[in-house]
Symmetry: C2
Subunit: 343 residues, 2 copies
DNA sequence: TTGTAGGCGTTATCAG
DNA sequence: CTGATAACGCCTACAA
């Protein structure tokens, strides 16, 4: 149509070789006229790599993950990459299936928020062999030695715990997530470090491990609240758990923050709309995602430096669910049943 | 490796021709051994279609959309399809770019939640020509004549409004979304129908149009609350707006539901955690997404019936933000400034 | 029932 | 600087 050969068109479109101005113009004109778009499929087949970035997350319904996805998508899109999104449902076998199939698209890279118990070492190796980077986000699989982007879970919960201690709390309970997940483990570690530093003991029953959801938080908070002496502050390893804890406090006829302070982690939107509003450790899912995508693109540009572990800062977001312990709470006040206010 | 030719392997993998049991077994064994996975790229190139489904949504950070995505992904994945996700940011030009590029992947179909002012007629036509279906979800672009899946916005808000009327409210305000969006338009229509049927007049200032977010809801609710006589109930066209309205009520020194009832739309998670908890019209994003994916797969199986418009039911979810009007509210009670309780 | 060969739309190589 | 040509991995006629 432009009176030139196939190869010349390709050269124009990819700037892969010098093309005379006149022909280049003719080609571009024709491209405009027909609305030609190169087939990404054929291009990928030939180049042995595409402009897709695979992204595997546990569950997009968990309100924390969409932010990560969006951060990754923004960076990817503005650099000409597209995202293929899969939910692993925290199911490692589903994750493996997705990993294997995604690879046959020859993606430019892979961003993974690992499922429970995932071990991606072998898979990542095979991706790397085909020239695609793999970045883990938020939590790390067992023995992970590749690139990663995480928040500073340890420091975040250390600071949050410090704050509770400085307010005068001396009996602190923690509701921790599944300890095989690195993020749960790290958050617990920060909590323990702060306690140890303040020389505050932590009886084992003050630590309750459960799943990262409202039900878990509710069940374990109920247990904590029945302990004698009762903790005056509860650190929940994420906001969903904190929400469950808030409910449990209400149901136990106690008040937050007067009887029990509650601290969450993640700083999701719901923190602002609960009653009382939830104090929380803020981490930016968006930045997690965008940093991961950027890391991937750097690798693709030829960055072959050793594995990078990007660790993002957290910030303490104080709201109404945290206060100094009242004397009453400190020295014991019976938990009488009251009508719960709605959350 | 299995001692057979290329074509036989292909026949085994696709069941495309009879293959003797012995060879079939040998092939499968070899496939297992090497962990062979066919290249989706090459397969797509040859078949002129892939197992990808493109999905374009306005913004995954809007808490309503992830549910739609998840619904679509579940159906797609369990049928062997994958989702390519793009955020249009409600920007029609970005949407067009994505539409054009996505097509070059020869996707099996496209699921779109249209951006503002989008007109997809031409694009959809070109997808259809290449054998890929297009389904619009939640809202419809101008002049859309193709497949769609939406909630019954009109009936949902009609019922919600009926409920308010039955409680005895006679002065109802509405905060509506941008009226060029079909979902906003339909919700308004349901509201108006209920009012008309009850022979309740609606002065124009009782209707406020704004964006589908908290800020919009807050601003417009503030205006509604200053009207004399003040409405005793406010219907917000989505939950984010309802949340903003709740805030505005608080700031005006009024109480919800005693002075003003508030009704939302969408029934998002946050409805349960606000204070008071928000009554809302529930629509299932998950079902919206899964129905859309199913529709697409049907089309692919050869369903060539005329355009389908699947309309899903809504349900009224009553919580604490709605109550009969008090005499005080009904006959006028000064709005004195009070200390706001946190939401 | 099995094998062979052509071509899907690109890009890279290489000769002109 | 440009054009012809071979491959990328797969599927599908068609031939054996």
């Amino acid at each position: 149509m432009a009176g030139v050969s196939l190869g010349t068109v390709s050269n124009v479109l990819n700037n892969s070789a010098k093309v005379s101005e006149s022909k280049r113009a003719r080609v571009l004109e024709a491209v405009q006229a027909v609305g030609y778009q190169p087939s990404q499929l054929a291009r990928g087949l030939r180049r042995e790599t595409t402009n897709m970035i695979g992204m595997i997350i546990p569950d997009i319904l968990n309100p924390f993950f969409p932010a990560v996805v969006r951060g990754a998508e923004d960076v990817a899109f503005s650099n000409g990459y597209r995202l293929i999104l899969c939910n692993s449902d925290n199911d490692h076998s589903k994750e493996i299936i997705q990993l294997n199939e995604l690879r046959t698209y020859l993606p430019a890279g892979l961003i993974v928020i690992p499922s429970n118990f995932s071990d991606l070492t072998a898979q990542a190796e095979s991706y790397r062999r085909s020239g695609a980077g793999v970045v883990c986000v938020d939590r790390l699989p067992r023995n992970w030695s590749g690139d990663s982007v995480t928040a500073n879970h340890e420091a975040g919960s250390y600071n949050a715990t410090r704050h509770l201690l400085e307010l005068g709390h001396t009996r602190l309970g923690i509701i921790t997530g599944p300890l095989h997940l690195t993020n749960a483990k790290d958050r617990l570690a920060g909590f323990k470090r702060a306690l140890k530093q303040a020389k505050i003991p932590m009886p084992p029953e003050y630590m309750q491990e459960t799943t990262f959801d409202k039900q878990g938080g509710h069940a374990k908070a109920t247990i904590l609240l029945r302990l004698i002496p009762r903790p005056t502050a509860i650190f929940a390893s994420n906001d969903m758990m904190a929400l469950g804890a808030l409910l449990a406090v209400r149901e136990s006829g106690l008040r937050c923050p007067e009887d029990v302070s509650i601290m969450g982690f993640d700083d999701m939107d719901l923190c602002e709309t609960t009653n009382p509003s939830l104090s929380s450790v803020s981490q930016s899912g968006y930045q997690l995602g965008s940093a991961a995508a950027r890391l991937l693109l750097d690798r693709r540009q030829g960055d072959t430096s050793p594995a990078k572990n990007i660790v993002l800062k957290t910030a303490l977001r104080l709201r109404d669910s945290v206060a100094p312990p009242t004397d009453e709470a400190q020295y014991g006040r019976p938990a009488k049943k009251r009508h719960g206010r709605p959350l």
